[in-house]
């Protein structure tokens, strides 16, 4: 996609050519407001031209855009969140008397079960996508969770804690 524009002419001076500075300024404004990644930028003073080309981010049906699944507070600077795979009730343990799958400070392997989300009486295992240390558990046992809601934060296992 591309757009071309003329630099604004100062009122009352229709014949005055815009300065390189003015054109550059306009190019910057245009580039900053693009709906996608800038791929080409041309600034010409001779015929007062600014050309901008970009890669649109509007995706074609069927191609998954990056899903934003943040419900609760933003992720801390370090660590990755384990999120709820569906709407339901979060359980930290396999039963009322069982020990929790994980507690804060525990080390987990990739693929290890860290909780359950129960939906329509079906227990869905929640697994850690990667190895790490459980830095914080964000949801209390038996709380309702939404799809994509952050359940706990894992930080890199080799990070000092």
């Amino acid at each position: 996609m591309s757009v071309e524009t003329q630099a604004p002419q100062p009122a009352g001076h229709p014949l005055e050519a815009p300065s390189l500075e003015a054109l550059c300024q306009q190019a910057k404004v245009l580039a900053a407001g693009l709906p996608g990644t800038l791929t080409r930028l041309t600034v010409m003073v001779g015929d007062n031209r600014v050309e901008v080309e970009w890669q649109p981010v509007t995706v074609v049906a069927g191609v998954a855009p990056a899903a934003s699944a943040t419900i609760e507070a933003a992720e801390p600077e370090t660590g990755v969140a384990v999120v709820a795979p569906l709407v339901g009730t979060f359980y930290r343990a396999s039963g009322p008397d069982a020990a929790p799958f994980v507690s804060e400070g525990d080390l987990v392997e990739a693929g290890q079960q860290v909780g359950i989300v129960e939906a329509m009486k079906i227990m869905n295992a929640v697994q850690a996508d990667q190895a790490g240390r459980v830095a914080k558990i964000l949801v209390a046992d038996s709380d309702m969770v939404e799809y994509g809601q952050q359940l706990m934060i894992l930080e890199s296992a080799d990070a000092e804690s």
């Binding site: 996609m1 049906a61 855009p65 939404e146 799809y147 994509g148």
Partner: protein
């Protein structure tokens, strides 16, 4: 009924949430990650994120929706249109969780959802049908024999079809076999059911549908007709009421026939009986939609009856708030569907950010829309941006009002194309203005240029 979960998105979800608010009922929105900042999520009393953008894992994912209803304590679900609105299985699951499904019973939905069964039942109730099959056609030879005996053109329809999909018009005998196979394949792919039936195709006819509402006490009313003949590939673009082709007597007759058909099923809730009407004032039953329809505001504007509230009232077990005698038709209403589609590129859908979304206002101008400046139109869902509906004392003034409203409507964004300009061309067209057109209007007058 104290809390209604809205199992839908877009403008209809907002429309339902508004009705809930006016009735003093709490509303719960459910949404996919693509709709996290949508208008209904802001407007509803509660909102639950149920899944990723793909509808199979969000708006069609029954366990997540039921779970959201149970967890939020919703005692009813309004399905809107599309998605799960005509899924009897979903209605059954609601019932098994003591949640009121705002619509007809699963049994009625199931019977009317099968277009061949619906034809049979409505024929039995005395509704006129076009010549065609009652039972699904199972072989190409049989299809050929039937089509030959009906006479061409014929239309092959998927029994599980709906929303204008799964239909093929066959103009010549030599195309029949190919179209039969194609329609079955499409029906299998889209509706997971390859059964089809065949009926005569009426080229010069008008799509005329009757809005009905029935309560659970055996009462029903009709709210007159809507003419939806401005269509493209069986997708409605403009709807209006009343139809200029119905006399009060014909309106009363079609209304009472539609009600008779619905009440014979034990129908409850809002529904629409679709008919084809020819130039001689003869009409034939096509199918019934067992849900609220996109174009319901047209009927609301000429009757003053809020159809969503009426749906909720009858779902609560109340009696209809009007008798047939109290339903008065006043003036003329027209609706334009403003879609994010490019009429110059075969109505290809467009998606992306809306930098500007400035709907029109002014007297008797209604806009039902979930859009706002800064909202991003997702490629995952249908392309309806807004419904623009106007009312005026008569059709001529309604056309002028719509024309004015369309010129006010500004929608802009990177790569965003809409059907606003297309509608303006329709409203400028002498044939549309005359009212004397059929379902082939778009193909015949709007495809050049």
């Amino acid at each position: 009924m104290e809390k209604i979960l809205i199992a839908n998105r877009g403008e209809i979800a907002l429309r339902i949430a508004r009705a809930c608010r006016e009735l003093g009922i709490a509303s719960v929105a459910v949404y996919s990650t693509a709709d996290a900042d949508s208008a209904v999520v802001r407007f509803a009393d509660e909102a639950v994120q149920i899944g990723p953008p793909a509808v199979a894992r969000s708006y069609l994912h029954i366990p997540s929706i039921i779970e959201a209803a149970v967890k939020t304590g919703a005692d009813a679900i309004h399905p809107g249109y599309g998605f799960l609105s005509e899924d009897p299985y979903f209605a059954e699951i609601c019932a098994s969780h003591d949640i009121t499904f705002i619509g007809p019973t699963p049994d009625v939905m199931e019977r009317m959802g099968d277009k061949a069964v619906a034809r049979q039942l409505m024929s039995g109730a005395g509704l006129p049908l076009l010549p065609g099959t009652i039972e699904p056609v199972t072989t190409a030879d049989e299809a050929q024999d039937i089509a030959d005996s009906i006479g061409y053109p014929v239309i092959i329809k998927a029994v599980a079809g709906g929303g204008g999909r799964g239909m093929t018009v066959v103009w010549r005998r030599e195309d029949l076999r190919n179209s039969y196979q194609l329609t079955r394949a499409t029906a299998q792919a889209v509706f997971k059911n390859n059964a089809v039936y065949i009926e005569r195709y009426l080229a010069a006819s008008r799509h005329t549908e009757i809005q009905i509402v029935c309560d659970s006490h055996g009462n029903g009313i009709h709210l007159g007709e809507r003419d939806c003949s401005v269509q493209r590939r069986h997708q409605k673009l403009i709807e209006e009421a009343p139809s200029v082709h119905l006399t009060p007597e014909l309106r009363a007759e079609m209304g009472s026939v539609a009600l008779k058909g619905a009440l014979s099923l034990g129908y409850t809730g809002a529904g629409t009986m679709e008919f084809l009407l020819d130039d001689q004032g003869q009409f034939w039953f096509m199918e019934m939609n067992t849900r609220i329809q996109v174009e319901h505001p047209v009927s609301e504007l000429i009757t003053g009856i809020d159809l969503i509230k009426e749906q909720i009232r009858v779902a609560r077990g109340e009696r209809l708030s009007h008798t047939q005698d109290e339903v008065k038709f006043t003036g003329h209403a027209i609706e334009c569907r403003i879609n994010a589609e490019d009429p110059d590129r075969d109505f290809a859908p467009s998606a992306g950010r809306l930098d500007e979304f400035a709907p029109p206002g002014g007297p008797w101008t209604r806009v039902d829309s979930h859009c706002f400046g800064g909202w991003t139109v997702s490629p995952y869902y249908d392309s309806l941006l807004a419904k623009l509906i106007v009312w005026a004392p008569d059709r001529a003034e309604a056309i002028e009002r719509m024309d004015r409203a369309l010129t006010e409507f500004r929608v802009n964004g990177p790569g965003m194309k809409t059907t606003i300009g297309f509608h303006q061309r329709v409203f400028a067209h002498p044939v549309f203005r005359s009212g004397d057109f059929h379902t082939d209007f778009v193909d015949r007058y709007m495809t050049q240029k």
